[in-house]
Symmetry: C2
Subunit: 284 residues, 2 copies
């Protein structure tokens, strides 16, 4: 990464995509190594705090709402009545906070392997953690792969895989074995949703993910693109997988009524995202 | 820009937003100075060719379709029957090519001040210029501000301002005088559309643009966000202004029938984009 070494900028250089993104920093606040990964916090000049894990930008104060809303609400409004939700990863608690906005939800279990991420979030992104004391929230630090293996069959309505990229600790969350565990643990109308990288840069990974989901028995998959400025290309996605049946409808009236609680998600955005842009449909 | 000097990467460093974006390059192909600006072409490792004007990334082979489609089709499908179109700027001819896909269009005049941009596009982005010989296309090299001042009143259906940022040659395209010329030149159901920068980074500029458009007499404005990986934040926008009446409808059936001709635009995308995300609506 020596090309971009600078005391004034943090740069995520992506060698596999030939692109890089930088934020100007006031200073590095802290750097800690957990048993799993290196977590850094920077104070940026224009994006608030920035969390970096193993060199990759994860969360900035300014624009994380785009990611957290789109990881949560399309899946939750596609499910007819989501009560029990599991988040695998998501240690910054931003997705948890969005899920807890849904009044139908009775329990959310957040399973991140690395306590350090949540400790850092509590200190530098307290706004993401302001629902952590909700009695419906259960924050566990454990191996999400094992958690899903051990989950009771037909016990979960929505599983949200809010992980790092498929290298390092996140790797085991992108394969047939994990998806099989998820499928078993979901109730009949259950939905799995996972972050699926950039529609421009990572079409191969996205296709492999979708194929693996249908290979293990999910009946339908749907990829939803959204803007995410600090991730490579500024254009990101999640992919939903349905245990049974097809996509095509969601609780649109409920989504409309919810719009005062969110900054980006809307019923219209959701509706539009259900149709893949042609450039992406052609390769998936 | 010394922070990012590297022989292997081209970096656009934005000091006013505290962010930077880089593409890895194989080599710089050419650099030429016109009377108006410096134009560079790079061969990148992953994005094809890259055109840079005065240090700012303008067009890459890989993802320019996002920008060119969204600068053209929302405006053209909002107009009931666009026949005469003017493009101010747009020297790379990518917007021209999109406009010419519309069978209702009888003439398109493209007015870019800098012939060098089109010469570079013809050589390194020939796919954007493949409609330049269409008999409906009129490619002029002239001052767009003066062109609009001199335009016959009520002679144009859609004006597309596809310019650089509001510094340098593009500056005069972002003010009351220019918008007044446009308003006069548009027919009664005419529409002006202009690139309006990043919904995340440039909300002040966007608000000023919208206010100026309504100040001079446009009856309604509508900002449409879209992904654009090589521009700051990867999230960009255009703003439409209507001479008379409100937004709210567009030729949806025609847009649906058109979807085989485009890679990103769709009737659903257009429909969704008509509702601003809440974070943006609050500040505009």
């Amino acid at each position: 990464m020596s090309d971009f070494s600078s005391p004034d900028w943090f740069t995520e250089q992506c060698d596999n995509t030939g692109s890089a993104f930088s934020l100007r920093i006031e200073h590095k606040v802290v750097e800690k190594q957990s048993p799993f990964q290196k977590v850094e916090i920077y104070k940026t000049t224009d994006f608030g705090y920035l969390m970096v894990i193993d060199g990759c930008t994860m969360v900035s104060s300014r624009e994380n709402f785009l990611y957290h809303e789109m990881m949560s609400h399309p899946a939750l409004f596609t499910h007819p009545n989501p009560k029990n939700v599991v988040i695998i990863g998501g240690g910054d608690c931003g997705t948890l906070r969005e899920v807890l906005k849904h009044s139908s939800v009775e329990s959310v279990h957040q399973i991140d392997i690395d306590k350090l991420v949540t400790e850092m979030a509590l200190e530098y992104f307290p706004e993401l953690c302001d629902k952590n004391d909700d009695p419906r929230a259960h924050i566990l630090f454990a191996d999400g792969i094992k958690y899903m293996q051990d989950a009771l069959p037909e016990s979960i309505d929505v599983i949200i895989v809010d992980s790092t990229d498929p290298i390092g600790p996140g790797e085991g969350l992108f394969n047939h074995a994990f998806y099989t565990s998820c499928l078993k643990a979901l109730r009949s109308d259950g939905i799995l949703v996972q972050q699926s990288e950039s529609p421009i840069l990572h079409q191969k990974l996205m296709k492999e993910m979708r194929d693996a989901m249908t290979d293990v028995g999910f009946s339908a998959v749907q990829t939803i693109p959204f803007p995410q400025p600090i991730y490579p290309s500024g254009y990101w996605s999640c992919t939903l997988a349905k245990k049974n049946g097809e996509f095509g409808v969601f609780r649109k009236q409920d989504a409309k009524a919810f719009e005062q609680l969110v900054e980006y998600y809307s019923a219209e955005t959701h509706q539009a995202a259900m149709k893949l842009p042609r450039f992406l449909a052609k390769v998936l």
